[in-house]
Amino acid sequence: MKITFPHMGNTYIVAKALLDDVGVDYIIPPYNNKRALEIGTKYAPEMVCLPLKINLGNYIEAYEKGADTILITGGRGPCRFGYYCEMSREILRDNGFNMDVITLEVSQEGFNELLRRIRRITGEINVKKILKVIKNTTLVSKRVDELERLTYKLRPREIKKGSTDKIYKEFQRKVKEVRGSSQILKLINNTKSRLIRLEIDREFKPLKIGIVGEIYTTIDPFTNFHIESILGNMGVEVDRSNTVSGWIIEHMLKAIVPFKKDIRYKEAAKPYLGAMIGGHAQETIGNTVLYAKDGYDGVVQIYPLTCMPEIVAESILPAIERDYNIPVLTLIIDEMTGEAGYLTRIEAFVDLLNRRRERVEIGQNFALSGN
């Protein structure tokens, strides 16, 4: 059995740590690329959302390299992601790709079914070992996110442009070569100390933009054309509400073990969207409010075309724009999105934010001299 899994930004690092520690054979599909997207678009129904198309591309590219089993998480709806596992199974089957899909979720058959599925992968169930693996994997996901967050702060402030990206890309390449969570953590620490030594302008006060929206398109840099890096290199500090560790902890672990969930965004979203409607709609609304309260200059919402929860969020966002006086840019992505048009919109948005800030600064100076 050779396991593979779909890409989503840095999740492959976490999945790698997990599978290395468990000790099973696996293949990481080639990183998201044009060909994967083209393959996916060819086999997927026209109107499904973009992540499924890229996922299919990942599976088929991994299949070409010898993978035969897909590991994916599930969901209970109403977002379409919850049924990705079955759709992939059907599509792959009809097109002659002989692959098995194992969904890690507590299904209608109950908890034992999940254990049975885990046993299929690991061979035996050693509770102590599994708990240790989960602990280490979660730690890796947290550290990767911290590293990512560090790059958000460094990019706009670095003296030599592009130096952060260079180190970060090197990390993403090297991480494929090391094995197991302990070595991955070591590499993360090394990269972190290299990043910290970078020369930065400590006085510079960059614009701040929060990124919200559907999880796949916000987290995956291939899909969103490396928006964090683009904005960072334009001198903007970004923050992203969806993270790999947040997804693993809040959506997967806490779905099984009823820990207390982080509900700050829920309370912020309440006046605008009163209920959980699936996907990340409530997060999008709530985090936009939180970003506005935290003094961010603007918010960018990203989602794949026809994403049901985010459409609801998009139609509510103008109310927040008005109430908190914060500009929001919505970017919708599908397989036809052209990079040039996309970049132009981002540039225009950043220009707008710069002008707004200048106006406020001039306004304040004016008031001072008027006194």
Binding site: P78, R80, E86, A275, L305
Partner: protein, 331 residues
């Protein structure tokens, strides 16, 4: 004394629950104001106000709200999270009152009670009391109104199960049985109620089929137990209420020998349809050689194109039988 006017947009779940709502509100002494039937103006208003990315039915719903918002004291837009255990509808239904509230200006108060039966069917009563409290303080009266409402709903469902189209019941239209020279075809139509029964949105599709000598069977006419039995073949439980209905009844149509063709009517941009239509198509193509077509609706769909496809579909089915007849019985 003036009665309270409750506005109900003639869209989305109107086609599924109107008899229930009507009896309930009228028992409580409220007056119901329905929006007009969907027209070009309503659809245009809807697509103008609503965000572009939404699907056609949601745009039409916005149009209907625009149509009645100035004529009523309350707008009835419940938050439908779930209407059955462990199942959802679509995220847009759950966020509908919020979408409308933040998109359309100058609205009357909205009755946006949450209907969430995902965990337990008993939650329905909670929603009933909440809606009822707008019109009466008397809990007993609300309960009685709900009981009567359920009766009219059951009556409505019984009629549908006997094969009457919901749009005909709602519009009080009597259909005379037309003689069609030649063989009558049994055409199964799968799709969301608000796509199937909104005559303007689907450009009179059902009437056109009937005129061509087709007997229509829709998913709503299939009994819940039959659906339940057929949907078991799916390895993972479908969490969309409509999805289960559609897949279950499509598989049932496949089992029936007397169905001549299946039409799947979907709305452009519908997330649930994008999965369910594909799932159904794969099941059908694998199992049986039966004519199947997917028709997509959006606000730009031209009627001529739709007609051509329907005609071609029906002609194709008829040819199958004609060719069969041509084979000489004598060998």
């Amino acid at each position: 004394m003036n009665t309270t006017k409750v506005g109900i947009p003639r869209a989305l779940f109107y086609y599924q629950y109107y008899p229930l709502w009507k009896t309930f509100f009228e028992e409580l002494g409220a007056e119901i104001v329905l929006s007009d039937r969907t027209t070009k103006t309503i659809m245009d208003e809807g697509s103008k106000t609503c965000i572009d990315e939404a699907c056609l039915p949601i745009k039409i719903f916005h149009g209907h709200v625009m149509n009645i918002k100035d004529k009523v004291d309350y707008l009835f837009i419940p938050r439908f999270t779930s209407v059955s255990k462990n199942e959802y509808i679509c995220p847009k239904f759950g966020g509908l009152p919020d979408m409308v509230r933040h998109t359309i200006k100058d609205l009357p108060p909205i009755i946006d009670t949450e209907v969430n039966l995902r965990k337990s069917g008993k939650n329905a009563l909670k929603a009933v009391y909440e809606v009822g409290s707008f019109f009466s303080k008397d809990q007993y009266k609300i309960k009685r109104a709900y009981k009567r409402a359920l009766e009219s709903y059951r009556e409505f469902r019984e009629k549908i199960k006997k094969g009457v189209l919901p749009c005909d019941i709602l519009d009080k239209k009597l259909r005379t049985v037309k003689k069609y020279d030649g063989r009558n075809l049994n055409i199964a139509v799968v799709g969301h109620g608000y796509n199937l029964y909104d005559r303007y949105a689907n450009m009179n599709m059902l009437d056109k089929l009937i005129d061509k000598g087709a007997e229509i069977i829709t998913v709503d006419m299939v009994d819940g137990e039959i659906i339940e039995k057929h949907v078991q073949v799916l390895p993972k439980r479908l969490f969309w209420n409509f999805g289960r209905k559609a897949v279950g009844s499509s598989l049932y149509f496949l089992d029936r020998e007397d169905i001549d063709g299946i039409i799947y009517l979907m709305a452009f941009g519908c997330g649930v349809d994008s999965f369910i239509s594909d799932l159904i198509e794969r099941k059908i193509r694998r199992n049986k050689d039966i004519p199947f077509i997917i028709l997509t609706l959006d606000e730009h769909t031209g009627e001529a194109g739709m007609d051509t496809r329907l005609e071609a579909f029906i002609d194709m089915i008829r040819w199958r039988y004609r060719n069969e007849d041509n084979v000489s019985a004598y060998g």
